[in-house]
Symmetry: C2
Subunit: 359 residues, 2 copies
């Protein structure tokens, strides 16, 4: 098992990465000194595979868990589902010392994290991410939230988990498209801060695509390390943390304007990252060769790198861009790359140029 | 103008207490260095009197405010209204540097505070409490939240305002019943930590009931000082802050089990405080004379001090008690008084004894 520490003073916690961790969930929670009552929030797909194991592990460590199952998919990230979760927590009489386990991908983690952040003004929660994307990204760092009609993640809070358990075994059942979507975040870490990781991904991509256990363990741990370091320096996105949004400004707008569900998050940010690489070439002198390497790696991974828009879709996309949380004084700012491994945040980009890099 | 400082490190802020402060709202917000776009959240009753003045003051200081009016009353403290507020913030394109002004009583402050705490994972907010209860209690200290069907304030967050403006002029239009309800919190401060304040209230009650400006200014400022000192030591109710809940454990259960709206908050906690005083006599040796003084002061203020329950209502009340956020391991804990000005928290009370003090 690998351990990555997220250092946030009193809110510090560790990420455990390895095989077979789900069966140790109860024992690990027991070490955190939490109350007896708890809730496992999961979705219908993940629950089918792993809910029993999670409940069994918690019960055998003396906890009294209730299972809350939400529908699978981005549509569950909304306030009506949040309210349904609250009602079930109240019915199970959860208290402030009680805790919540988020068992699932990014949707479950964001939703359950927000529920934990706000129920009784905050109860402890544990992340058990079961997708590659959630393991390397959304389960770490305390961003929780749900969507509004007007946009994705417009509501939420910064609320840190008490523990993150990345059980690599859970990735075995992940549908191929979802697994590949997670690779888009993995590649992002190479671009934003680790040229060696990027080069390793170029070499080891075939192994990664086969979900080779040792390679996966190394790569997930390295991504978590990078994220933990960034979050440790900037918990609430005042500065450095923005680099994690490389490719996301456009990515979110793509997800939003195409109607959530058409593109998986990883697919949208793959397109967003390639577009950001092209903007970086125009504005920061990122070399053509590196733009090419970035595009190639996404293509080899099986991720989309461009999208065709009719004029109506293009208009919707630009309207969605303006709602981005990182908008400041009405102006969209981008994270752009100087070279692979080095990015700069807060870059202004003229709207015409955005249009030009989206063929 | 009186100023009380709430010391919470980087989240410190001040409470300004005085007449005519609403007209200075814009100027005070300008000093905080906030973004141009903002929203004023108010209810239909308060808005009728003060929304124009608030908007005018903000506009004349260069801000671009949108007005969000929610229905008056406790029923607005629910997620459906929260969602409506979010949608209006999104429509007005509020950004992370934008801010929200809560203009109203406790309901508006709790609701708007929760909206501010969670929109874009948190935007700045300013409290402009317009009821006595909100000025001395709910606007200070960062508790925000909404109700669930299962209970009051079961959802929320700890989120500090950037500034609190207590404009004493706004109390002039307050209906008598609501004003008196606020006195229940004022009296509470005397009981929990200031015997001199309690004695002053005994003497100055006629002036207070006439809303005598200088007396009111003194008393509101003193209450805010006490609350600020408690919150400064314990922001998230890990310990000391619990003393602010004197009378509230039963008070909340009364509000909940009678259907919100029958009793005003102050009325419910007046009954709760007198019951807590009787429990204190039984369990901590609070003198009969002081129990008498406590009960008398509430009676003189025009507040209820007892309630009659039929067996069904009694059962509902005890069920509601169990949902209190301060419940630990299924056991209800009370704040009880040793003498006027000195309370002890975390006291176990046998259920039979609770029943006995509620005639």
């Amino acid at each position: 098992m690998r351990i990555v520490q997220v250092s946030l003073g009193r809110r510090s916690y560790r990420i455990q990465i390895g095989a077979g961790l789900l069966s140790r969930l109860g024992a690990d929670c027991a070490r955190l000194g939490l109350g007896r009552r708890c809730a496992v929030v999961t979705d219908a797909n993940v629950g089918r595979h792993f809910a029993k194991a999670a409940l069994r592990s918690l019960s055998s460590s003396g906890f009294d868990p209730v299972l809350i199952t939400v529908p699978a998919g981005e549509k569950s990230k909304r306030l009506a589902i949040v309210e349904r979760c609250y009602d079930q927590l109240a019915a199970h009489r959860l208290e402030r010392s009680s805790f919540l386990v988020a068992l699932g991908g990014g949707v479950v983690g964001d939703l359950a994290g927000f529920v934990a952040a706000t129920y009784l003004r905050g109860i402890p929660f544990v992340q058990v991410p079961t997708t590659l994307l959630a393991q390397v990204d959304s389960s770490v760092g305390g961003k929780t939230g749900v969507n509004l009609k007007a946009g994705k993640n417009l509501v939420g809070s910064f609320y840190q988990p008490r523990l993150v358990l990345c059980d690599l075994d859970t990735l075995k059942t992940l549908p191929k498209r979802e697994y590949i979507s997670g690779l888009a975040e993995v590649i992002k870490y190479g671009i934003i801060s680790d040229a060696r990781l990027f080069a390793r991904l170029e070499r080891a991509l075939p192994l990664l695509l086969r979900r080779h256990p040792a390679t996966l363990a190394d790569v997930v741990a390295r991504c978590c390390q990078i994220k933990a370091a960034v979050v440790g320096e900037d918990e609430t996105e005042g500065g450095l943390r923005a680099i994690l949004n490389f490719g996301h400004t456009l990515g979110h707008a793509i997800e939003n304007s195409s109607g959530y569900g058409k593109y998986l998050h990883g697919e949208a940010i793959a397109i967003g990252q390639v577009a950001a690489a092209r903007l970086s070439q125009n504005l920061l002198g990122l070399s053509a060769a590196e733009v090419q390497r970035i595009e190639q790696l996404f293509v080899r991974a099986g991720l989309p790198v461009s999208l065709r828009l009719n004029p109506v879709q293009r208009k919707k996309l630009f309207a969605a861009l303006k709602l981005d949380k990182k908008v400041s004084a009405g102006e969209v700012r981008f994270v752009l790359a100087k070279k692979i491994g080095v990015v700069v945040r807060g870059q202004r980009v003229p709207p015409e140029m955005i249009s030009a890099v989206l063929p």
